[in-house]
């Protein structure tokens, strides 16, 4: 067993130092070392997207990232999406559009949607489908997920407009 290493990283705005083996994936460390189990494991080879987290703002499948690569990075997981006790508009849109059934893929979809809306605040249906093609859902047939994503975009726009009005 290789010697454990210290990794300094930021997770959901909190600076932390963690101990891990060089062979451990970011997914394993999030779930097993840090008990951040909202990030799900579906395939461990990058095909299902259930383990999607944001690394320096970009979506990555954490099963294909070594924990040691997180040194100095800023990570965001599903546990950090709701701010100050309020759901993010994406989370609210997923709830109100009934965009989940079993819910195992939901954290990954929400993280990918967050990245999508940062890159493209007003996606078309086709753009949303393209961006989310790396996230598998076996329950919903995607219909209500895509509607929730488009609804999230509108909610975000409305929230931004309201913010601008206040300032």
């Amino acid at each position: 067993m290789a010697k454990k290493r210290v990794v300094s990283t930021t997770i959901n705005g909190k600076s932390i130092e963690l101990l891990c083996e060089p062979r451990q994936t970011l997914l394993e460390v999030l779930r097993d070392n840090l008990d951040l189990t909202g990030t799900k494991e579906g395939c461990s080879n990058g095909n299902c997207g259930a383990c999607t987290v944001l690394m320096n703002g970009r979506p990555v499948v954490s099963c294909l990232v070594l924990a040691m690569e997180a040194e100095g990075a800023s990570l965001e997981t599903i546990e950090g999406v709701a701010q100050g006790g309020d759901l993010d508009p994406i989370q609210q849109a997923f709830l109100e559009n009934a965009a989940l059934q079993c819910g195992i893929c939901t954290p990954g979809f929400i993280m990918s949607t967050k990245a999508l809306l940062t890159e493209n605040p007003n996606p078309t249906e086709q753009e949303a489908r393209f961006y989310l093609a790396g996230n598998l859902c076996r329950c919903t047939g995607y219909d209500k997920i895509i509607r929730a994503v488009l609804d999230s975009a509108q909610r975000r726009q409305a929230a931004l407009a309201a913010e601008r009005q206040h300032s």
Binding site: M1, E21, R23, E28, R31, D32, D35, L36, T37, G38, T39, K40, E41, G42, C43, S44, N45, N47, C48, A50, T77, I78, E79, V81, A82, L87, Q91, F94, L95, E96, N97, A98, L100, Q101, C102, G103, I104, C105, T106, P107, I110, E125, A128, R129, F130, L132, A133, G134, N135, L136, C137, R138, C139, T140, G141, Y142, D143, K144, I145, I146
Partner: protein, 767 residues
């Protein structure tokens, strides 16, 4: 928020209901969008060890010996188990809630005994301090295999010269046990009327053969189990399952303890579709825990899930249909052979019951064959068996319609099964909605809009699936603040906490949000059968209704005491108790009163309902075929379904959409590729290609409500039937688009292209 709910009322509208038909946010929703919901793999009891299963690299082999000594001496390894550590439960059948299972076969499937029957068959399991140590140690176990010839194809396995899987398997031929071992576990037959006479009356007779590939349920969450065997002999199992009580029974049988010594804690479950009923890891985790004294967790890899769990059978089928000049079916004949996997027990029986079930078939004969092959033990998958059967039947109907020059939906309306229709396998239908679902398809905007464009075509197909009853329990406690805590035993895969809570709320006249539902462990609620057979909203919803009626009775008694009236003078209505002279207390007022005086009010519902209503669906699909590559694109999709009563329309729609898309995947891409050695070559999500968001349009569900007279709120099972029509509907659409009849699933680009090229070849003049 009554107004918000009213705004979201679905168009059918239930004037008589206040809660049913609305779309509240599900009770477990926030936990699931914030990552707080704990699924099976998410728990880490202190001191937990990790288990890794060693699996067979061979499709068929005898195990001469297993040497675990090297693995056992690896630092950090705590225990190793093989089949010897399980209890041999004997060669006997037990009822596990949804179908009977041979316990010895179950035991041998969990950990192979003398033989492995498929690649991926579990052979041993190591528990160690870390997952990585366990993986390394598992690789050090030496298994001496005598590799045997394998057979993975159902037709090949039926050949008397095929390699035999089980020397002690004798065909049950029409009820009689044979004398020679064979891979055909069972041959059964259903008959009705006079088939020969029926075909003699037919003007058109079409007979075709079909093949379908093995497909997997494809849930995103891999199987997992964590177990703790306490020194007092009591075992706790945490797992993701469709049925906590069936897991309790299976674990008890395989490790040899009374069921009361096993507590199963159902964690949130990341999809099942029929594949999370049989146990795989739970007994292994339990015996590892007994050996180590620590909790042990075992989680499958995705490759394990593909190679060793699920899938649902590939098939060989032949369907023959006779129709008279008036377009009425005169006779039908079907032969259906299903892969059972390494052990007998495929869902071929259900396939045989479903194949002609959508129609009035006066004369019919159906033969079913259950055939063992060197593939994983087959499991249920959403309407198990019905999708394969419908692929055959519904494409034969399309050919018949072409010969008759009749609109395929008109044909279905003309021949639709209805109340009083006797199925070929015997049962007589109660009030059903095959006709109404098909009418809704014919009258849909989709079907009325002409489809134009090159290589485009429209197809339709119908499907049937049962709705089972079985046992369910609920208890409901009235809280002083006017809410109700609802405890139930049905694991919630897709929002059933809410559909059950809504039926309780409707009955008590309170809001859905005033019910706090909880799915609890097997020690904390009455026996409840599996989440399967489209039964939970039907049967556990009924249990919630009974619990609410029980609360009504108790509140009437309480009000009678308060008002010093006879209970017969009082009624429970509109969310409260009313009596003579304007006496009235609301549920909320009574709830507060109950807290001050007298015994608490706890309602109980325990049901095993009859009165299941069958579910019917008709789908319409437009496709465009790329004639150069054979790739099929879905342009538009409409799915109609008789749902009885839609309790929560959003989740009903979700079931219809999700089922349709699983059917689309089955139709177009999904299949198991085996090489000559019986090794699955596509055991990843990259190569086992399930539909992605990019592959699909929106799926338009049309909810048809023909209330089921056998349920207090008219509920029918919803979840399964939408997977049934898609492969046939798409095959029929491909025919209209490019003129080729597809008789093999999946209709992947190479297969479609092959048919297109063959058609060009036969139609072009020879030189």
């Amino acid at each position: 928020m009554a107004t918000a709910n009213n705004d979201l009322r679905h168009t059918n509208g239930h004037a008589k209901y206040k809660v049913i038909g609305t779309r509240p946010v599900r009770h477990d929703g926030v936990d699931k969008v914030t990552g707080r919901a704990r699924y099976g793999a998410d728990i880490h009891p202190s001191g937990m060890l990790y288990g890794v299963v060693l699996r067979s690299p061979h499709a068929h082999a005898r195990i001469r010996s297993i040497d675990t000594s090297k693995a056992a001496s690896t630092p950090g390894v705590r225990a190793i188990v093989t089949n010897k550590d399980l209890l041999d439960p004997g060669n006997r059948m037990v009822e596990l809630g949804e179908g009977a299972v041979n316990l010895r076969h179950l035991n041998h499937n969990v950990l192979a005994a003398d033989k492995v029957y498929y690649r991926g068959h579990a052979v041993a399991c190591v528990a160690a301090d870390s997952i990585h140590i366990a993986e390394q140690a598992a690789a050090l176990i030496c298994v001496d295999y005598e590799v045997l010839p394998c057979v993975t194809d159902v037709q090949a396995a039926m050949d008397p010269k095929a390699p035999l899987l089980h020397a002690d398997l004798f065909t049950e031929e029409l009820g009689k046990i044979g004398t020679k071992p064979s891979n055909i576990a069972k041959h059964f037959r259903f008959e009705k009327g006079d088939v020969a006479a029926g075909f003699s009356k037919a003007k058109f007779v079409v007979e075709r053969e079909f093949k379908t590939s093995t497909v997997h349920q494809g849930y995103i969450e891999p199987h997992n189990a964590t177990a703790l065997w306490n020194p007092d002999g009591h075992i706790t199992v945490w797992c993701s399952t469709q049925g906590s009580f069936t897991v309790r029974q299976q674990v008890a049988e395989l490790v040899g303890v009374p069921i009361s010594h096993v507590k199963v804690v159902p964690m949130e479950i990341g999809g099942g579709f029929g594949g999370k009923i049989r146990v795989y890891l739970e007994p292994i985790a339990a015996v590892l825990s007994r050996k180590t004294g620590a909790p042990v967790k075992v989680v499958m890899s995705r490759a394990d899930v593909f190679e060793a769990t699920g899938p649902t059978p590939g098939s060989y089928m032949k369907v023959k249909l006779g129709v008279d000049a008036a377009g009425l079916i005169t006779a039908g004949e079907a032969q259906i052979a299903f892969e059972a996997g390494g052990f007998p027990g495929s869902p071929v029986g259900a396939a045989a019951m479903c194949v002609f079930a959508c129609y009035e078939v006066p004369n019919g004969k159906i033969d079913g064959y259950d055939v063992v092959v060197n593939r994983p033990q087959m499991s249920a998958y959403r309407a198990p068996g019905a999708t394969q059967a419908a692929f055959a039947m519904e494409t034969v109907i399309d050919e018949v319609c072409e010969q008759l020059q009749i609109d395929p939906l008109e044909f279905r309306l003309k021949n639709a099964a209805k109340e009083g229709t006797r199925r070929v396998d015997g049962p007589v239908f109660p009030r059903i909605g095959m006709y109404e679902a098909t009418l809704a398809a014919r009258d849909s905007a989709h079907y009325k809009t002409p489809l134009t464009g090159k290589h485009r075509g429209r197809g339709v197909a119908s499907g049937f699936w049962f709705n089972i009853g079985l046992k369910s329990c609920c208890t409901a406690t009235v809280n002083a603040d006017g809410s109700v805590s609802l405890v139930e035993g049905s694991t919630d895969i897709g929002g059933s906490r809410t559909s059950i809570a809504m039926q309780l709320a409707e009955t008590l006249g309170i809001r859905a949000e005033d019910v706090v539902p909880a799915v609890v462990d097997t020690d904390s609620v009455g026996y409840t059968d599996v989440t399967g057979g489209s039964r939970v909203t039907f049967a556990t919803g009924w249990a919630a209704y009974e619990a609410a009626r029980d609360i009504q009775r108790q509140l009437i008694n309480r009000a009678a005491q308060i008002w010093e009236r006879k209970t017969e003078e009082l009624t429970y209505q509109d969310g409260g108790v009313s009596g003579p002279n304007g006496l009235r207390m609301t549920f909320q007022e009574l709830a507060a009163e109950v807290q001050k005086h007298g015994e608490p009010v706890v309602g109980r519902g325990a049901v095993d309902p009859e009165g299941c209503g069958g579910a019917f669906a008709t789908h319409v699909v437009d496709v465009e075929v790329d004639a150069e590559t054979g790739k099929v694109e879905i342009l538009r999709y409409t799915a109609t379904q008789d749902v009885g009563t839609a309790i929560h329309p959003s989740y009903v729609e979700g079931q219809i959409q999700g089922g349709a898309v699983q059917g689309i995947g089955w139709a177009l891409n999904e299949e198991y590729f085996y090489d000559a050695q019986g090794v699955m070559r596509n055991s990843t999500f990259l190569d086992y290609r399930m539909p992605t968001a990019l592959d699909l349009p929106m799926i338009d569900p049309v909810i048809v409500e023909v209330p089921n007279p056998g349920h207090p709120y008219g509920v029918r099972g919803v979840g399964e039937v939408p997977i049934v029509p898609p492969p046939a509907a798409i095959a029929n659409a491909i025919y209209r688009a490019v003129g080729v009849r597809m008789q093999e699933l999946p209709m992947s680009p190479p297969r479609v292209l092959k048919q297109i090229l063959a058609a060009i070849h036969t139609s072009s003049p020879r030189h």
